[in-house]
Symmetry: C3
Subunit: 140 residues, 3 copies
């Protein structure tokens, strides 16, 4: 019989970077005891996002960071929303260019991720923040 459950994960981020939480999410799925189903993630923020990316070579994450820093420049004179700092509007744009939602099927009790896929919280602000993630589990 299909059932659902909801959970919250809270992260304390440091500086602007990608934070992997694949293992934590797998723990939640195991605890819920679902063999087949669907995990939906919703990050409750507008200046941090969710990303599935390669978790092998850490240089991939640094190149992602370098690319986005060049694409959306802190302190760009184009921006007028500047009261919260030069990194704030770039953080909103980086969030718009990525996503705050992800959906991952559960197969045989595990997240159906590919060999190289890790799930990351991408902190786009340069200062530490508390970030809240709602996890919706559906399955049996």
């Amino acid at each position: 019989m299909l059932r659902q459950s909801q959970h919250e994960l809270v992260f304390e981020t440091g500086n602007r970077a990608l934070y992997e939480f694949t293992a934590q999410l797998e723990g939640l799925v195991r605890q819920a005891g679902m063999q087949t189903g669907l995990v939906t993630l919703h990050l409750q923020h507008t200046s941090a996002s969710l990303l599935i990316q390669e978790n092998a070579d850490p240089e991939v994450r640094r190149d992602l960071e370098r690319f986005f820093a060049r694409l959306v420049r802190d302190g760009d004179p184009l921006f007028r929303h500047t009261a919260e700092g030069t990194d704030d509007m770039p953080a909103h744009i980086r969030t718009a260019l990525t996503a705050v939602n992800l959906s991952i099927p559960i197969i045989d009790g595990n997240l159906a991720l590919g060999t190289w896929q890790g799930i990351y919280l991408w902190e786009h602000r340069t200062q530490p923040h508390t970030r809240r993630l709602v996890v919706h589990l559906l399955g049996e």
Copy 2:
């Protein structure tokens, strides 16, 4: 017992801009009487998209618009799909860079949005359009 229901929201957009519909969607969820669940949105277009962004300072939306207008220039000579106007191919690209799907959990009968999160339809064409959004509700 888990159940689902489907709805359609129709929007008449004006010019290229972000249109908030958080309250309308909250009304739908309330009407469906679901306390716990998941809302999935699908916009049936390729030149408009869905975005969760800050709904406090309106300058954030104007900066988003300014940034995307500079990143994907109307009338860029790179484009060959130009028969429908200089803003048409940029509208497809802006849609590809954002999303036409969103998923938001329902907690205690409300959308599980963060304090500053609003849900927007982003019209990327410069002329008014009729836009159709399919809403899938799952819950109990």
Copy 3:
């Protein structure tokens, strides 16, 4: 009564391009016999992505490809993750800028796509690859 089922679609891609699989996915939905529901797609890779885009004028896909090739340049000296080829890090970034998840409602036994929407696998590597897509169906 709500039920779920899971499936896998395997694609053999050629070069960097958009590959439509709308008909294949519609076949899966028909076979599952669901009239009302939700399809969730998860691509198990970090250098290919999923995109819903116009399936009328093929020039739209070529313009998308041209735009992304200019935005994220193969061999850009910014990148340090270069061991797997000059197109590898750009492929990761193009994946981050688009998505590996999609959700499409099922209405009257069909995918609730708009008139011009097609579902594509976007191969971002320049060489052929085997790509695995997990399909989660929920419905009745």
